[in-house]
Point group: C2
Chain length 333, copies 2
């Protein structure tokens, strides 16, 4: 295992300290318990958004803290849920009296710990609602969860719900928007290589030199099938079909197409993937109106990618276009 | 070799087509010869900036085409200079009558081909000036060049010269600013793993499981030494010292600190590096006033990173902060 780390047990603490040093204009950091909050939180009268989960998926979630997106992010250990304590502390720290929305990827540990934190916050008089993200069409009932997993679609939920909170929507309305984004978003991924969790020191799975895993989870959980590597266009077609068929997306739909790198994939490959995905949607009469390409929900150094498609309407498009100012996503302000 | 590609000979063409499909709001693409131009170029009366070089370093350079940065980028084959033809075509396409600045990383092929294109453009009546970027302190006279190599500092030259052109500076002034940025910028990198050029199919060098290459070039050219892997903080100290000593940076300086991922490095590791680099600069009395962290000048899927330090003055800081709107760098507009 070759990594740019000091102590495998201090990876998250040191990375968060570096994040604070780099982005002190956008965030403030609590080191015990660990969470990343928006600078000058809480904002009185604004619904606050809190997300979090195991580390190793950066820039998710800390990279999305700031104007127009999250008010706080709670990073757990690598690929391990944060405990209720830091989630509760973050929730209290950013509540501005208008309530807090928890955005939770559908993994059993995350769901339970956010639920406990929400219960404790409610007992303290904070109004908390929760939206569970489960956009991954690859498998039901995976290694770490019951039901579908939450993957790259989480970025779209956080961006759009963040914009709704910023324009002044109340907690019920922000939660409804977040739920709506999740309901029109579908994703699926593919891995070319595994990744190594620092404290484990070894890959959590292995792939032969000519094998890829279709439907990979963002912690390396098994997907649908393991196949011999194919040309990029064939791989795209193989994972786009179940995405489109699931909602289903149909001719005449306008969508946001998001090609997400899993951490170790060269950018040229992400654009080769984007090219075919856009073309394949066009062949089905689906119009790509908004786009996102890059490493946003990663699995450490894993090579591979995921494709996410979100069905747009005028309101979702307007909220997507609204200004955002975070370390990893920034425009229009 | 496992890659998300179709035909190794069509990697650049297909990636550029994907880039066009994803970022048609920012750029227009010429496919024969291949170059990426800013939407609605040329801008009458504005100095135009053109850069380029071998592909495989994305988002450099295409990701930096847009408002406040480049007017055109010319991607060559992977790790191979573009020929004069597309450079000349791009230069003609974006000239708005105020002249064109060529920003060229110091590799022999790039320097010669940009020089030929500049001569041909001049013969056509276009005023062209050239700035050579050579920020890498690792080695002199490397595999592909005489003198120092141009690496991640190129992003800073392109951003700041782009802002100067956008505010209306004339060609001589924009060239002077670009030269000034290069003169106060120093970089050095380290590789943990090699990368595989698609049409070669094999790594251009090998590293043992416990080895790293200090002073690596962005095409995998040899650096200063090959050592056993060390804790991240020791590696940072090892490459930051020659950077600081070279200019030299001194107590009281305000700097921009840029930690650049080489493509395959998890973001947590980049922030662990940033943490120590900022701390080590502070120990020397050097103040980090501006920051940049991410994959900006890459070597395909190579794991590793580079550190770049630029000495700031009020004007450079103002130009750095000025609005920019490109696929890979965007703020303030």
């Amino acid at each position: 295992m070759k990594k740019l780390i000091n102590d495998p047990r201090r990876v998250v603490e040191e990375a968060v300290a570096g994040f604070e040093a780099a982005h002190g204009d956008l965030v403030t950091v609590s080191h015990d318990p660990i969470y990343i909050a928006r600078k000058n939180a809480p904002r009185q009268g604004k619904v606050a958004l809190v997300s979090g989960g195991g580390s190793g998926h950066e820039p998710l979630h800390g990279g999305f803290v700031g104007f127009g997106m999250l008010d706080a992010a709670v990073p757990g250990p690598v690929f391990t849920s944060p405990t209720p304590d830091p989630i509760l502390a973050a929730t209290k720290a950013v509540d501005g009296g208008a309530g807090v929305l928890h955005i939770v990827k559908n993994y059993t540990g995350d769901v339970l710990n956010f639920e406990t934190a929400a219960d404790l916050a409610s007992a303290d008089g904070i109004d908390v609602q929760t939206v569970i993200v489960d956009d991954d069409v690859a498998v039901k009932d995976s290694l770490y969860t019951a039901g579908r997993r939450g993957v790259a679609g989480t970025v779209l939920v956080e961006k759009i719900a963040g914009a709704a909170a910023e324009r002044g929507d109340d907690l019920a309305a922000v939660a409804a928007i977040a739920t709506r984004v999740n309901s029109v978003t579908r994703s699926m991924g593919v891995a070319l290589t595994p990744c190594v969790v620092p404290h484990a020191g070894e890959p959590s799975f292995t792939l032969a030199d000519d094998e890829i895993e279709i439907g990979i989870g963002i912690h390396g959980e098994p997907g649908r099938e393991r196949i011999k590597i194919e040309p990029a266009d064939a791989i795209v077609d193989r994972i786009l079909a179940p995405i489109v068929d699931d909602l289903p997306f149909a001719s005449g739909d306008r969508v946001l197409l998001f090609v997400n790198g899993l951490g170790g994939t060269p950018q040229v490959e992400l654009y080769i993937v984007f090219r075919r995905a856009a073309e394949a949607l066009a062949e089905r009469g689906i119009t790509v109106s908004r786009t996102l390409v890059g490493n946003f929900v990663t699995s450490l150094e894993m090579q591979g990618m995921s494709i996410t498609v979100m069905k747009l309407d005028d309101e979702l498009k307007e909220l997507w276009d609204a200004p955002v100012e975070t370390a990893a996503l920034r425009w229009g302000r």
